[in-house]
Amino acid sequence: MFKEEYRSMNEKLAPGAELNARTLARMEAPRSRRPRRALTAVLTLLLAACLTLTAAAAVLPGFRGMLFGEASPLAESLTPQTAAAARNGLALEILGTMAQGESFTAYFSLQDLEKADRLSGEMFLDMDIYLDGKRFDHYQGCDFFCEVMKYDEETQTALCRMDLDVGGAPAGEEGEALYRLENADVDLVLHNAFQRDRHSAYTPITLPAPDTAPSVLPIYGRYQFRYEDGEESSFIEEITPDMFAPTWEEICAELEKKEKAAQGGEPASEEYLSFSGILREAFLQDEEGWIAHLEPGEPVPVPGLEDFVQITKTAYVDGVLYVQLHKEDQALLKTCQGQGQRMLADGFQLLCAKKGCGAADAQDIARKKEELAFGGSSQELLNRLYQYSSGVSGFAFDEAGRVIDGPPEDREGYQEYKYEIPLEELDQYEFFALWDYMSQLELGLTAAFSLEDALPGDTVLYGPVTVGGVTFDQISVSPLGVFARGYWLWDDVNQMEDIELVSSGTVYHFYKIEGSQWSVEYADSNGPDREKSSAWVKFFTSSAPIDPTAVTAIRYQGREVPLAPAE
């Protein structure tokens, strides 16, 4: 029996004493929080220091003073900007920018000139960046990050920082870079500000008359399998619709064929062979019945929610009521219910109640969701949500028009709610949507500026070098400080408190800033001696400015070795 075998196998699995000791040692050692990006992290640290410098504000007003005042560590790295825009008593002002390689950072302020408490330190911004007129699409593998750094209650002004990195963008049709930062003309567009609140709303729904003989669609599942080498194989699920394999047996046969080919000696150990397959409905047959999805009909809008959801089918299949909805992509959520509210895709539910009880039930469920801070669940809540429902499932169509099974939680697709309510009793029930939203403030502000004068990243790369028993793969010296990176054991990382660099005959002491170390993902981690250690980056700063181009040596753990620029 599977259960016994599985449990027996698991009983033999346990963390070893050595692993526990290692884990305990790491838990007890001070550990730094790993930030999202190196540059972002450094700027955060420096700005945190900067914001405490009240003397700077005396030189220049407000946040601009904090960034560019005499005592600001950012002043030398940021290019001042003056672009601004105002609308409906809200003012956007670009304060400073910095371009470094494929990264670009902008500091800007957003102020409520009417002091109507429309902004806060908790809000987040819905915004776009255009580089030379081309919209920066951060869904294309690029990094994009924007946050409110500080909010001044008195002036009702938020200091915001936006970081983007174009490095992950795919190449254009002719292999050219999709985005260009050098001397780029930038448009920063603020669409909306959202507060981090959450509320539930109730919308009654009138179902169209049910179809008693609907068309049912065939179902497919999509999987990609990767075969790793001649001895080990593993299956990694990924969605790619480019090939078709009709049955599970054919997929296994294909794998076997590829395995035999691999054992012929060709593929290297890390080479992957992959293919994808479409599994027909026979494979997806539910043990308790076929998974049925209905041919969508003409969309019927739900008043008030028409931009987000439409009813595409109401029908009976094997005595079960199906209500099929079409949902928009979460990334393309539209404003609904007029201004001031933005629906959250993960908060939408179609619910059923006894006739005349819908509003009261909705209120009760909303209260329970609020008690759970919209984040958790409880048996009581589940019982209320699924009181009359016998399940919900979802599907979408792939590029070839095939039906792909799976609940489209946060993307465009169809959801089907099922209710075991006989047709003759349907008039004893009512249906309603319970949906969550957050508060929205429309901004509609655009400021244009150029990176033509942005300071270049005068960073010089040194290394690799081994000093004091530690190998630094790369040492990056810039006006912001020093990034050191390498494959280091945990103990080495912890002990690395400071380094010294010799530049133009002078020794500069660089010390670690709290919270400025993080592990990194190296693409070349296949070396035989590197598997057991982790790649790290640490940032060090100095109280004295250093000329990044004139570094000649590094001192660490009492040893000094010459340092040459990286090739």
């Binding site: 449990r7 963390p15 699920e237 693409a523």
Partner: protein, 161 residues
């Protein structure tokens, strides 16, 4: 920081460690990866310092964070490129080793629900909460996982449904 109201790290490792390790192994099927996730989960505990309302909350937190850490590991490009390690596994029984090899062939999300159901004895509603899907989806996932295992092992009546 530890204090009087919170369990010591040793207590926590003793209490939650086996569960964390087994779930990580169930999902990743590689000891080295499971050990990485194991450490990561307890370090996240140190970082986040969660206060638990009771044993169930504590258990659910560790299971959830284990799944998150597994996902993070799988998303890391350098991890995907790393060559598979030849590992020593504690399975002496050929049937257990065979089961381990067959489980490797299952997509991770199915291995996860199988483990939560057959080892952690969780109902599908709780599994749904942990893996972040609706109860119906968790139930379907479990059904498919059983069917796939049945196909893989080519035996008719070995699953006690």
């Amino acid at each position: 920081m530890e204090n009087a109201d919170r369990p010591s790290y040793e207590e926590l490792i003793a209490r939650q460690g086996p569960s964390v390790y087994r779930l990580a192994f169930a999902r990743l099927r590689r000891r080295a990866d499971a050990e990485d996730v194991y450490q990561e989960v307890f370090l996240r505990y140190v970082e986040k310092g969660p206060v638990f309302e009771g044993p169930d909350h504590e258990r659910a937190w560790f299971l959830r964070v284990t799944l998150n850490a597994c996902n993070s590991l799988w998303r890391a490009p350098w991890r995907r490129l790393a060559a598979p390690l030849t590992e020593e596994l504690p399975f002496e029984d050929p049937e257990e080793l065979g089961l381990h090899q067959e489980l490797r062939k299952l997509p991770a999300k199915y291995r996860t629900v199988l483990h939560l159901y057959y080892w952690e004895d969780l109902p599908t509603e709780a599994i749904a909460q942990l893996v972040g899907c609706k109860p119906e989806a968790a139930r379907q996932r479990l059904t498919r996982a059983r069917r796939m295992m049945k196909d893989l092992l080519a035996e008719e009546e070995w699953i006690d449904v």
